[in-house]
């Protein structure tokens, strides 16, 4: 029996991921080089894995407190204080979540009343729009452009603010563009926020440690006068190569954290205990690994930028995360057509830019969380492909 009409309206209204079909195709093919995956290719550093194992050996197999073990929260508090120069009280201002994604969902449910607007800066991580829609909010899109280095422009943000605007989701360093917002860029956003005292910001900083131009992360939480209105979503997946551990955290004003914790305690209870033990070690001993991984990503980033240049594709120079977002405009194919033909003909998987918002059309996302060997081969094939496209080989 088909129950599809029984599904709730909000869920029905959210379209399935545009790239599902594309990934199904990639999965069917053999010998595909994948530069499509949004997670580190590194395995979690051994000392961190060992800490997780030891917690099991020692019998820590129970629930933790709802907000997370206090030692884990203290470790996070210290790390944020060291890296951002901002203090959060482990008792009441930190909630440990199941990855950064849970945080996005919790905040949406905690803040949105039906009809509230949430400003989303596209192209962006695919979950932003969906979490807002699931919480009966109305996503309002601000587009960013390569001529502005894919940074959010204060005047363009302000133009989208209405009396229904509840919060803005800011995801920098950006998936998919690799753009960052420096302290100076952020200060202009802060000026806008000062004019609109009722608007909150969700700052998704999962990629904060993967910043190739700044030594320490820049964040809106560093501005004392708006800190209370900024909810930071952060985690270990990207920086510490811990995606499968599902561990993130939400930092913010006590009342906001209490609200998200209320939802978390009823829906999730607590985050995985083993992972919470592992991150204590990650924060204590793992930062040197982060630097090593970052150096390696940085090498690959430069190879990708050079490879794209050699292939004749225009690309904004990414400064963070592990993605490049070159333009494929003028080659006669849409993003999806480009990626699908490239996959079929050259066996390299990359992601069409329109998956990250309408303004991502005309671009593709290339992840450099893959071995240098894969990257080199993929770039050679891309150059071939672009040349063949220009010669009209794949014209319908």
């Amino acid at each position: 029996m088909d129950y599809s009409d029984k599904i709730s309206d909000v869920v029905k209204k959210v379209p399935p991921s545009a790239i599902r079909r594309f990934f199904d195709l990639a999965n069917e093919m053999k010998d595909v080089i994948s530069l499509s995956i949004g997670e580190p290719d590194f395995v979690t550093p051994w000392n961190v894995r060992e800490a997780g194992i030891n917690s099991l050996v020692d019998g820590y197999t129970h629930y933790s407190p709802n907000a997370g073990y206090i030692d884990s929260r203290k470790a996070i508090s210290k790390y944020i204080s060291d890296r951002y120069g901002v203090d959060y009280d482990p008792n009441g201002e930190i909630l440990i979540t199941v990855g950064g994604s849970e945080g996005l969902d919790l905040v949406a449910r905690a803040l949105i009343n039906p009809g509230d607007e949430v400003i989303i800066v596209e192209p962006c991580f695919v979950a932003y729009k969906a979490t807002v829609a699931f919480a009966h909010g109305v996503p309002v899109v601000v587009e960013t452009k390569p001529e502005n280095d894919f940074k959010l422009q204060p005047e363009e943000l302000e133009a989208k603010i209405t009396d229904k605007t509840k919060y803005i989701i800011l995801g920098y360093p950006s998936n998919p563009t690799g753009a960052i917002m420096t302290k100076e860029d952020l200060s202009k956003i802060r000026d806008v926020l000062l004019k609109h005292p009722d608007i909150f910001v969700i700052s998704d900083e999962l990629y904060a440690e993967l910043n190739y131009v700044e030594d320490k992360p820049s964040s809106l939480v560093q501005f004392e006068d708006i800190k209370d209105r900024v909810i930071m979503i952060n985690g270990f997946s990207k920086s510490f190569a811990m995606t499968g551990w599902r561990l993130g955290y939400v930092l913010g004003n006590r009342s906001l954290v209490a609200a998200v914790t209320k939802i978390h305690q009823y829906c999730i209870m607590c985050s995985p205990s083993m992972s919470q033990f592992a991150i204590i070690d990650a924060l204590k001993n793992g930062l040197s690994y982060v630097d090593e991984m970052k150096d390696e990503y940085n090498h690959r980033r430069r190879v990708i930028i050079q490879g794209l240049k050699d292939a004749g594709l225009e690309c904004f120079t990414p400064s963070g995360a592990f993605y490049a977002f070159p333009s494929i405009k003028g080659l006669g194919l849409s993003s999806e057509e480009f990626c699908e033909t490239f996959l079929r003909e050259k066996h390299v998987a990359i992601v069409p830019g329109n998956a990250f918002g309408e303004c991502g059309e005309g671009y593709v996302r290339i992840s450099y969380a893959a071995s240098m060997e894969s990257i080199n081969t993929a770039m050679e094939r891309l150059a071939e492909f672009v040349k063949e496209l220009k010669e009209g080989k794949y014209n319908a």
């Binding site: 994948s34 995956i37 997670e39 290719d41 695919v126 090498h299 690959r300 430069r302 190879v303 894969s374």
Partner: protein
């Protein structure tokens, strides 16, 4: 400008990289990389470029022994004299002065056990100043210079939408 430590780390992990590739990875020019490589070589920092080979997977029959050598130091020359003497043998792959129960640790490679035994008894033991030796034959190599021999390079990450 080339960051010397960054360059060394890169080629330590992959000696096959050519200056052009290194230049891209470090965000500098090919000429600068070449100049720095030459300087590193001239200063005796880069000693050579070798390949890590898992001989067990080839037809070559060979044995590797770690030989502990206890010495009595020679007047004015310490341990250097004997160490330098032992280094002259091509089959001595490495030679280290170490702290602890013995003084020199040699890594020695030869065709078979008999050859190793005769090297120890005929070349090392009779040397003046050698007090004793202890020979360990390597049975299996699990990790060589940071490379795990039985590694799995497959990218088995599953596709997720993000």
């Amino acid at each position: 400008m080339v960051n010397r430590m960054e360059l060394l780390k890169l080629i330590k992990n992959n000696a096959k990289l050519c200056p052009r590739e290194i230049a891209v990875m470090l965000g500098t020019t090919e000429e600068d990389v070449q100049a720095e490589l030459k300087a590193l070589s001239d200063e005796g920092i880069i000693l050579g470029y070798t390949t890590q080979i898992n001989w067990e997977k080839t037809e070559k029959e060979s044995v590797i022994a770690m030989i502990e050598v206890k010495l009595s130091p020679m007047r004015n020359r310490g341990y250097d004299h004997i160490a330098n003497l032992l280094c002259k043998y091509d089959k001595v792959a490495s030679c280290y002065l170490v702290s602890g129960d013995y003084d020199l640790m040699l890594i020695y490679e030869d065709d078979n056990l008999r050859e190793v035994a005769s090297f120890v008894s005929e070349k090392i033991a009779p040397l003046e100043g050698v007090l004793s030796t202890k020979t360990h034959f390597i049975l299996k190599k699990y990790k060589i210079d940071g490379i795990v021999s039985d590694r799995n390079d497959n990218d088995d990450r599953q596709t997720v939408i993000l």
